[in-house]
Amino acid sequence: MTWMRRFILLSIVLLCVVLSARAQTSTPSPSIVLDAPDTIGAGEAWSLYVNLTSGEAGMSIPIVLLNGLSQTMQTVITGTGGIARWDIPAGMTTQSGRSMIIARYGDVEVRRTIRVRAGQAAQADLLTTTNSMTAYGDSRAMLIGLIRDAYGNPMDLRGRDNEALLDIRFPNGDKRALPLTSEIGLAWAWVDSLGGPGRVRVQFSLDQATAAIEIQQMPGTARTVTLTLSPPCILNDGRDLLRLTTDSVDEHGNSVVDGTLVGFTLGTGEGYASTTDGRAVLTIPPPAMIGLYRLVAWSGDAASVPVWLQVTDETCS
């Protein structure tokens, strides 16, 4: 029994010695706890609490706040209970995305992320891949919206499909509200032409962001060329000029686009003029030789009905 008591007492003493030795050698290195909101809005003011678990006051702790590509360094000093607070003012954490807070104390480094969400849409750029498209539904243009908040952060419009719409007014008065396909920072849509030639007005509006753009709907290529001749009969005395006039329209009867080239063939000669409001005029001296001349005008694949010019040395009837 005595041996048993001695063994138990010895074990207890040994245990106490080991525990006290361990307590003396392994002074726990204090760790840091960073307390911050999980999510803030871009540009909002917020506070970071730094808690030194050892509870020591008066300790300097350098902190780095990485927000997008900006970095801010600050050293805080712990107060009572080992707690320090860093008040980040409004307008400082402006870049959206996941930001990082890094605090260091001795060998300990603690990192914490905080999500910064973009604010409401405040700026928008509307781009188009073409400034003009053929009317009548024959072509289309891609419209792209770059939408940002007040700090220039791209917006994620996913989930806001019903709000992010393009209001389109076509030349014939038709209106369409076109939904956009959203990516982060960008929304896009195809717009098919509708109706005849004229201006297509496109507007985008979301929160405080507005943008507008115009696309020109152009007529098609010449389908019908009408040639008129003035005068149809002319004396070969060299005093008069011959005036050739064409009116060119597309398949829907609208004048072709300004500047369309029209060719004129008179016998073996050729001349060219460009259109304004669908009309091209060419004034030339008439042939010197008397006779009946065949005139044709053409633009692209379309050609006019031939008209005949009479050149005479007598009187025109």
């Binding site: 996941r98 990082m100 982060i184």
Partner: protein
């Protein structure tokens, strides 16, 4: 004074004025050209732009399956080159404290944000391992959206005694302005 002596004096005077004037003119022309070469927009006609592609370790396309339209090889090369040099311009701005080169590769809101971040010569900035996923390319190949997944970067400052390495994901909008791709918008998610 004889006529020959007068001619000789005139010749010597012209020589004395002409040589320094030519020298000064040459030096001024030289510094004028040097100013264009060093200070001009690298994309300008005075400097020209050579297409330099980053190595695979620096930046690499992982996916080019884009919505909108499919890119051609030329567009992909120009995009990745401009993107890489955008980060290089930022690194140079940190190295030298001179951010004059940033507008060559950054534009619009992204340029404002980068300039507001205030790269200073007190820090060095190193970046690599850009893994790029093209998400959108406009029909006329002038607007692109891409993700950069898990790229690494490192800030260090000897003066302030800090150095930290981070990895991040980024979503970027690039636009082709005057024949040159520029980063116009970005969102960066830093990872622990």
């Amino acid at each position: 004074m004889s006529k020959n002596r007068a001619k000789f004096i005139l010749f010597i005077t012209a020589l004395l004025i002409g040589i320094p004037a030519s020298l000064i003119g040459f030096l001024m022309l030289n510094s004028f050209i040097a100013a264009f070469n060093s200070g001009a927009d690298p994309a300008s006609i005075f400097r020209g732009h050579r297409l330099i592609l980053p190595t695979e370790d620096q930046a690499q396309w992982m996916s080019t399956d884009a919505a909108g339209t499919q890119p051609n090889q030329n567009t992909l090369e120009n995009l990745i080159s401009a993107y890489w040099f955008g980060w290089e311009a930022l690194a140079r701005a940190y190295q030298t404290g001179d951010s004059a080169n940033l507008p060559t590769y950054w534009a619009g809101a992204a340029l404002d944000q980068v300039q507001a971040a205030g790269p200073s010569s007190s820090m060095s900035f190193v970046h690599n391992r850009h893994r790029l996923y093209l998400r959108f390319l406009s029909e006329d190949m002038t607007v692109a959206v891409m993700d950069d997944v898990g790229f690494h970067f490192q800030y260090s400052s000897i003066q302030q005694g800090v150095e930290f390495t981070l990895s991040a994901n980024a979503t970027l909008v690039l636009t082709l302005d005057n024949g040159f791709w520029r980063i116009r918008e970005y969102t960066i998610d830093l990872m622990r």
